[in-house]
Amino acid sequence: MLTYVAQRLTESALVLLIMSFVVYGLIGLMPGDPIDIMVSSDPNMTPQDAARLRALYGLDRPIVERYLNWLGAALQGDFGYSRLHARPVLEVLLPRLGNTVLLMGLAFLLAFALALPAGVYAALRPRGVGDTAINLFAFAGISLPPFWLAILLIILFAVALGWLPAGGMAPSGAGLGVQVQYLLLPIATLTLATIGGILRFVRAATMEALRQDYVRTARAKGLSERQVVFGHVLRNAMIPVVTILALNFGALFSGALITETMFGYLGMGKAIYDAILGNDFNLALIGLLLATLTTLLANLAADLCYTWLDPRISFR
């Protein structure tokens, strides 16, 4: 098992290295550079200004040379400065990472906690009233665009009722209650947007498990329905669900761009998006690599979970 984990971690490091080059290259290949954008908005900037600034920011050098310089510095722990925020990259990203983990983590847990019982319930009573209602809810969640849902929630709870803030971050030093108030609408938006997919997956996996021979055998042995569901069905149904959850786990760290934008929430999604559009190489790279790293680690964790869920699975 330890050998397997070490091997996977080595593979992950290699993937990260390749990803860093690919991401750096892709951002570098995008049309224009930050100086082009400055020139287009400032008619007073002369060609000499543009050339000087390109040289100053290293934008006049080949992209491979720029990448190798960045990599060398990054390996020594220097991730550079964010051009858009005029601060060290980690100083910008770490608070946002915390915000994103809090927002996405709570939304993820809530969605899973609601989707799991609802999905199992729907699978146990297919085509019944409950199943139909749950499916309707799931499809509504999948179909509603998050930006529209966010606006609806803002209009209802912030504008019409005035119960919750329309967006932004809780003031520094605010108490837990205030922080919860600022989180409620973004969490509700994200939960409603993600619950549908998980719910449908749990329902399908549970229905598939219910059709298996071991379930029939368990029932034939005289086990109660509760024992059949919790002891046999759920455990087996969880294997594909864990895979999906692991894949979604990367989003915990890459953020939710639309929700963050609508609510003015300072998370990773908006930071990475702005960094890519603003040619903030250092910030975009570290943000995307963090998302890649967490996805890789989550998948490793999911693989380890399989052995716990299904003892027949082993690592070689």
Binding site: M30, P31, G32, D36, I37, M38, V39, S40, S41, D42, P43, N44, M45, T46, P47, Q48, D49, A50, A51, R52, L53, L56, Y57, Y81, R83, L84, H85, A86, R87, V92, F147, I151, I154, I155, A158, V159, G162, W163, L164, P165, A166, G167, G168, M169, P171, A174, G175, L176, G177, V178, V180, Q181, L184, T261, M262, G264, L266, K270, A271, G278
Partner: protein, 557 residues
């Protein structure tokens, strides 16, 4: 039971803090909360040029000079505007025999940084040193290179020795840096200065401000809180605190205003005109909504290397086929007036006698016939060689106003037999590649933001056409080459006599209208959404933000 629990949870959460703590109470006196859509990447006045930065900094400091709301050049930090007439500006001969100038400014005697240090000539010298240093990352270094030296006359008086004498010799909107805070950071490593400046590492340092307000809190990407600055010498501002909140999505910005989380939406960086018009219909009774057309010039750059557009008759036909008054009226309720040249009617050099092009589709058809586009098949004109009269129209994808205008233009041109294919791109690609490298084949719709009496050197002079040979420098994207225009631009810049200069400007505008390298569309307006209790805010219409006069804003609550 479930409902009861939910109600209990809700009551617990909502009762925890009370509305004031979370900013739901819109009636807090002496605080103003402003919503804008962009966060400044830096607060250093010399590094990067961003409207959001100018908006915030105008509350914490003042430039040496600025254009006021009536477009007159005034002193803000200085005591008297230097002119040739009052002797504070004098021509001087340089060592190389060329004509230069010496311009003397006196800093306001009460100007004091927020930490008590006086604003002095040493700050002016330091600012010049930083501004002209090639490694500091100052965007507009050429403006500083024009200053050959800064002579300190006394603690509050200094003279700028300039390498030439131009009509705008005294319009130096120099933004002073506090030498007592920044000099050590700069001298330690000029190349690292942009990352070490106190404006970004210690934005709440009171020594960075000498205006009516100082920054007391900055949360990057979220908000900036300003409080009254005790060292400000001018009129006492009405608000104890000002919070500038950044909400990039304009729909969310509106919702925040309606919920009371912000008090106003800045016109400079707020909702678009169509959003403001829709908002006014729904909520006009609750807010004062004003529109100020200014120096944002929406136009179509025509690629004159395209053989079709190289023909002046076709260019004239294009503009005559457009009912721009109808576009302005129907799409923007007349709030964005039609532009006839690149010079704003609010600018003193604007010439009302400049030829204009009213909607005359029959005249457009006649010109197209004359240009050889006579044969019509499927409603589209063809020439004798069988070529279709087809043009490509491009703009920034996702900009609703521009996309609407595009569709109207397309249908109007179709009426006279011109086929237009719309091909839009994200702003990043459009400005980063297509426009700057002249890859648009027909017309490109975008806007220029300029300042009062801004000579169009970079956009109209022949040597400013971007090409691979000059590393795509310059902004003459149309490829317009006209010797008379070049001479006019050169002459305007050095003509100090106002009537003579105005005559040169009149000829420039006439030439622009005759040659039509660009099709003027309209002057974009800023929409200010203000609470009814806020008075004294006067939009400028130029690049100077309304916050330069924040102390005139009054709280009527």
């Amino acid at each position: 039971m479930v409902m009861r629990l939910a109600a209990l949870f809700g009551a617990l959460i909502l009762g925890w803090a009370g509305p004031t703590a979370i900013g739901l109470d819109g009636s807090r006196a002496a605080e103003l909360r402003i919503g804008i859509t962009q966060f400044p990447s830096t607060l250093n006045p010399l590094i990067d040029s961003m409207l959001a930065k100018s908006y915030v900094l105008a509350m914490t400091r003042r430039p040496l000079t600025a254009y006021d709301q009536d477009w007159q050049l005034i002193c803000m930090l200085c005591t008297e505007l230097p002119t040739l007439e009052n002797g504070l500006a004098v021509p001087e001969t340089l060592a190389d025999g060329e004509q230069g100038s010496a311009v003397t400014y006196q800093i306001h005697p009460e100007a004091t940084w927020g930490d008590g240090a006086p604003v002095t000539s040493a700050d002016a010298v330091f600012t010049w040193e930083v501004g002209r240093h090639p490694k500091t990352g100052v965007s507009d270094i050429e403006a500083f290179r024009r200053i050959l030296s800064v002579e300190v006359v006394d603690d509050r008086t200094f003279t700028l020795h300039l390498d030439r004498i131009t009509f705008d010799y005294n319009a130096f909107g120099l933004e002073l840096l506090p030498a007592h805070i920044e000099r050590a950071r700069f001298e330690a490593d000029p190349a690292a200065y942009r990352n070490r400046t106190a404006f970004d590492t210690e934005p709440a340092n009171p020594g960075l401000a000498f205006g009516p307000y100082k920054v007391v809190e900055l949360v990057s990407g979220s908000h900036i809180v300003l409080a009254r600055n005790g060292t400000w010498w001018g009129a006492k501002p009405a608000f104890d605190r000002i919070t500038v909140r950044v909400i990039e999505n304009t729909a969310a910005l509106e919702a925040n205003l309606l919920s009371g989380a912000i008090d106003m939406i800045a016109g400079e960086l707020g909702v678009t005109i169509d959003q403001a018009l829709a908002f006014e219909k729904r909520h006009g009774a609750r807010y004062d909504i004003s529109y100020k057309p200014g120096l944002i010039y929406e136009h179509l750059d025509l690629n004159l290397d395209n053989p079709i557009l190289a023909d002046k008759r076709v260019r004239k036909a294009l503009i005559l086929a457009l009912d721009r008054e109808a576009v302005s009226e129907r799409l923007f309720a007349g709030r964005q007036p039609v532009a006839h040249t690149s010079v704003s009617p609010l600018d003193w050099v604007h010439d009302p006698e400049t030829p204009t092009y009213a909607y005359r589709p029959e005249a457009a058809k006649a010109l197209l016939d004359e240009a050889g586009w006579t044969r019509i098949e499927d409603g589209i004109r063809h020439n004798a060689a069988g070529e279709r009269l087809t043009l490509e129209l491009m703009t920034t994808a996702g900009n609703r106003s521009r996309e609407l205008v595009e569709q109207v233009l397309q249908s109007m041109w179709r009426e006279v037999g011109i086929e237009v294919r719309i091909r839009n791109e994200p702003a990043r690609v459009f400005f980063g590649e297509t426009v700057t490298k002249r890859k648009f084949t027909g017309a490109a719709m975008f806007a220029w933001l300029s300042s009062p009496e801004n000579t169009p050197r970079s956009t109209l002079r022949s040597d400013q056409v971007p090409s691979a040979d000059n590393a795509w420098a310059g902004q003459n994207y149309t490829g317009f080459r006209n010797a008379e225009m070049d001479a006019l631009i050169d002459a305007i810049e050095v003509e100090l006599d106002r009537p003579k200069r105005k005559a040169l400007w009149a000829r420039l505008q006439r030439l622009y209208a005759e040659e039509l390298p660009v099709i003027p569309l309209y002057w974009r307006a800023n929409a200010y959404v203000l609470p009814k209790w806020l008075t004294g805010l006067r939009p400028t219409g130029h690049q100077g933000t309304t916050t330069l006069w924040i102390e005139e804003w009054q709280d009527g609550r």
